[in-house]
């Protein structure tokens, strides 16, 4: 089924208005050689059929709503009001709010989102969203390089390896240099930076879950005029000292833990927040409060001179479509929980993860890799390769033991726990793991 409303009469009347007889005439300006290729696609389906087909495909997956998997995405509980409100057609089917008089819904929601992200990160300003945590990191580093007019970047190995891969792709493109500082004992060691370095990047809690002490890096970076990009899981900011308080200049991260399902990896949203002085370097959309001709408060897109549709080749980024709806879900989630609820979710996640770590570390052949203190994810060294263990667990109905890339060591697996896990789940996983090892 297609969704065109045109009846045969409509088509006839409209063609007639154009002095045409046949729809093919609409494509008369195309070279003949190109016209009407034979597309080999499956036969059309009705709505009923596609849903039946997709349900069959869905049945080939096992849901991960109780997964002990992390790496930045985790199964957190999303209050029912979040999807219900985000799915309202006005939010769902609008585009970029270029016409503010009829877009106050999205604009004000972004303004509030920006405020929440600024509050979480302890920084001054957030933009309206970026694609994901990795893109946010890349944009954050490019921002730092623009500001410092330098081309050197130092990144801790504690930063999510996929984020570092994306960063490398972006930096290669502009010819910047990327140096990685290896973790020691699961933590980022102190480092020194030379004057070519414009951005230093660290993540806390880091990829292995450990809470870093960012102070030495911040101090060393600032001493040499470099800016600090701090990657933070927003859930951790419910409890942990925010990047701004640590002295970071730029905070970035992935918003999935705020009100979004895991979606097999996407979409979620990336956030970026910076100090006031960096605002005009920010990529992407920004919403500002203003007033209308009658003096009423309202909101508009602001500082568009940074953006591609105005500045073209000199724009701060090429980004146009961002992650508005998923960021909106993040804001709704935070609004629904409030500061206390948000802290309680984080605390529950921490408590479950620590209980799980203790439980699993008691299994024979298992070794704790992530040092204390850690947050809600942690790595273990397993007696067997992680993919095998993960497969063994999956057969038993458990999702856990995400393989950690070999650069961090052999047979490492990442575990996470959240407020969605109950005591029974922890015990169930431990028992299953024991079986897999047996």
């Amino acid at each position: 089924m297609d969704f065109t409303p045109h009846t045969p009469d409509d088509v006839r009347a409209m063609l007639e208005a154009l002095g045409m007889q046949d729809l093919r005439e609409l494509f008369a300006d195309l070279p003949d050689a190109l016209l009407e290729p034979d597309l080999r696609l499956p036969a059309p389906m009705s709505e009923q059929e596609i849903l039946a087909h997709l349900r069959e495909l869905a049945a080939k997956n096992t849901p991960a709503d109780k997964a002990f998997l992390g790496g930045g995405l985790r199964p957190h509980f999303v209050p029912s009001l979040v999807p219900a409100l985000a799915q309202r057609g006005e939010f769902l089917t609008a585009y970029t709010p270029y016409q503010p008089e009829v877009s106050q819904g999205v604009l004000q929601a972004v303004f509030e989102y920006q405020t929440m992200i600024a509050e979480l990160t302890g920084l001054d300003v957030s933009n309206a969203s970026l694609y994901d945590g990795a893109a946010a990191l890349a944009e954050g580093v490019l921002l730092a390089l623009r500001q410092t007019r330098r081309m050197g970047v130092v990144v801790s190995q504690g930063v999510h390896p996929e984020y570092r891969q994306v960063l490398a792709t972006y930096l290669h493109a502009v010819g910047a240099e990327l140096r990685t500082v290896a973790l020691e004992g699961g933590l980022t060691p102190p480092a020194e930076f030379d004057d070519s370095v414009g951005a230093v990047v660290l993540q806390s809690p880091n990829f292995l879950g450990a809470i870093e002490d960012p102070a030495p890096w911040v101090e060393a970076a600032h001493a040499r005029g470099a800016l600090v990009v701090y990657v933070a899981d927003p859930l951790s900011l419910a409890l942990l000292k925010p990047p701004g308080e640590w002295g970071a200049d730029i905070a970035v991260g992935d918003g999935q833990p705020l009100g979004n399902p895991m979606n097999f990896g996407g979409p979620q949203f990336g956030y970026i927040a910076v100090r006031e002085k960096l605002v005009r370097q920010l990529p992407g959309r920004l919403v500002s409060q203003t007033h209308d001709s009658g003096g009423r408060r309202g909101y508009v897109l602001a500082l568009a001179a940074r953006e591609q549709h105005i500045r073209r080749a000199k724009a701060k980024s090429n980004i146009t479509t961002n992650a508005q709806l998923t960021a909106l879900m993040g804001a709704m989630h935070l609004a629904a929980l409030g500061p206390e609820g948000f802290a309680e979710v984080a605390a529950a996640s921490v408590a479950r993860a620590h209980a799980l770590a203790e439980m699993l570390a008691r299994l024979p052949g298992v070794e704790r890799v992530t040092p204390e203190p850690f947050f809600n994810e942690f790595a273990l060294r397993l007696p067997r390769p992680a993919p095998e263990v993960r497969a063994g667990l999956a057969e038993r109905g458990w999702h856990a033991a995400a393989p950690v890339p070999a650069e961090y060591g052999a047979n490492l697996a990442l575990f996470a726990a959240t407020e969605r896990h109950e005591e029974d789940d922890l015990a169930g996983l431990a028992a299953a793991l024991k079986e897999v090892f047996a």
Partner: protein, 479 residues
């Protein structure tokens, strides 16, 4: 009355959705006292009803395709079928790191969508990793760059040609990909000036980025010669797929000779725009560029679908995980519902609507700078004496979302109108009536039009103030 922010609705100690009672835990002990924040973030403290009412009423201060005709040029604001949302919800609870054996259905969708998009565009390989159109553009340009580098021409080819009618994201992308950008002028017919382009071609040129049909809604009729000329010089052709809705099933960028193409699933393939995203920007490449695609892609091995990381020449990763999967599911559903015939019909009706509207608007007194057969969109200008901005604002009172205005830059007072195929003839006819009335009334009564809109939740907003002294977050003292 002002519409309050959530922060103004906040009251200390008020609670919304409560999590399960958290386990008793010594956070300072577990996390380190020195690591704890000194004060909680100042999030709004509101009850659930307040959250629901706030966002419900915010949405009522917002229009979308679901509420109004929304002919925003170059954005393809077609109907977003609600079945897409039901489809995506079936796959929401999957983790990218779960055992791929437990996500075979999801991987099958990725794999098949790669195949479908390759077929629709006439390309050899597709990556679904890019999160949006501009992200796809960057991916595509990096493929081209890696290709030139692999042939030892990376140092030499430092220039990308972009028509002056191009989307701003094209030159911005070329810059991000490390290229210098040179604008190529359009000819008087609105198409790329082929002679000027030939003149600009040279050994330093890496690529040309083209949109076809272009942002004037015109098909580049000399596309085959143009591409031949470029290929002769080893220049790669990039196809900006923002306008693919014009030609689906009628012609393929791959057949035109393009080397790389990106698509916008949220434009052409009916996934919702979400107020600005998330979208998805798959990239298709010809075989010679396929070795450079980002990893992972999904391949089929017998009956199984596996993540393929084995691409030694890859440009690397463009995004965490596998891209905007939930958007892919929606596009997959759409393509499977329409099939080849449906896609072709969608484009035909999109082009029919655009040409019909062009003709009618011309009759209603609007100027059509390139008044010939257009594709899915076209450019109009208001009658002499009216500003595009004023017409746009007046339209708001008539219940329409305005077209894109002041773009492309090469046309003064441009209004870029893209009706899409999901709007009916009556809607177009009524829209033309409104446009005619606005023109008439605006010319008669300049004061009236200068102060439109009158019936929107807010009137014209002071953007100058917002740019001079931006207020980018709520603070108690500035409220």
């Amino acid at each position: 009355r002002d519409f309050p922010t959530l922060f103004e609705r906040s009251r200390p100690g008020r609670r919304g959705t409560r999590p399960p009672r958290p386990p008793e835990v010594d956070l300072a002990g577990l996390l380190g006292a020195e690591n704890l924040r000194s004060a909680p973030p100042r999030l709004p403290e509101v009850d659930e009803l307040t959250v629901v009412r706030h966002y419900t009423n915010l949405s009522r201060r917002q229009v979308g395709v679901d509420t109004n005709f929304y002919p925003l040029g170059s954005c393809t604001m077609k109907y977003n079928p609600r079945v897409n949302e039901a489809a995506a919800a079936l796959f929401a609870e999957l983790h990218p790191y779960q055992d791929p054996e437990t996500a075979q259905g999801a991987l099958q969708i990725v794999y098949e969508l790669q195949e479908y998009l390759a077929e629709i565009t006439g390309m050899d390989a597709v990556t679904l990793q890019p999160a949006a159109g501009a992200h796809g553009e960057l991916t595509g340009m990096l493929l081209i760059r890696a290709y030139h580098e692999s042939r030892g021409e990376g140092e030499r080819r430092r220039m990308v040609l972009v028509p002056d009618s191009a989307h701003g994201s094209n030159p911005a992308t070329a810059s991000m990909a490390g290229y210098q950008v040179k604008e190529v002028p359009s000819g008087p017919d609105g198409e790329v000036d082929l002679d000027a382009l030939r003149a600009a071609l040279g050994p330093e040129v890496a690529a040309i980025m083209l949109t076809n049909p272009n942002t004037l809604g015109l098909f580049e009729r000399k596309i085959l010669e143009l591409i031949d000329a470029a290929h002769d010089q080893g220049v790669q052709l990039y196809y900006d797929g923002a306008n693919l809705n014009a030609i689906m099933g009628w012609a393929r960028p791959g057949d035109m000779g393009f080397d790389v193409v990106h698509l916008n699933l949220h434009k052409t393939f009916s996934t919702p725009h979400g107020g600005g995203g998330p979208g998805s920007g798959p990239v298709g490449a010809k075989a010679h560029l396929a070795p450079f695609l980002p990893v992972p892609t999904v391949k089929r091995e017998g009956e199984r679908y596996v993540l393929d990381f084995d691409r030694p020449q890859t440009i690397g990763r463009m995004r965490s995980f596998y891209g905007n999967f939930a958007v892919m599911v929606r596009a997959y559903a759409y393509i499977r519902m329409l099939g080849a015939e449906g896609l072709k019909r969608a484009s035909a009706m999109a082009v029919l609507n655009a040409n019909y509207l062009r003709k009618k608007l011309a009759a209603a007194g609007y100027r059509i700078p390139y008044d010939r057969l257009c594709k899915h969109e076209f450019i109009a200008q208001p009658p002499e004496g009216l500003k595009a901005l004023d017409v746009a604002k007046a339209l708001l009172d008539y219940g329409y979302h305005p077209p894109t205005v002041y773009f492309p830059l090469i046309v003064k007072e441009a209004m870029m109108i893209e009706p899409t195929e999901t709007e009916s003839k009556e809607t177009l006819d009524e829209y033309v009536e409104a446009m005619a009335e606005i023109a008439r009334r605006g010319l008669e009564d300049p004061e009236w039009i200068a102060h439109t809109p009158y019936r929107t939740p807010v009137r014209r907003l002071d953007e100058v103030a917002a740019n001079r002294k931006p207020v980018l977050r709520w603070r108690p003292e500035e409220a």
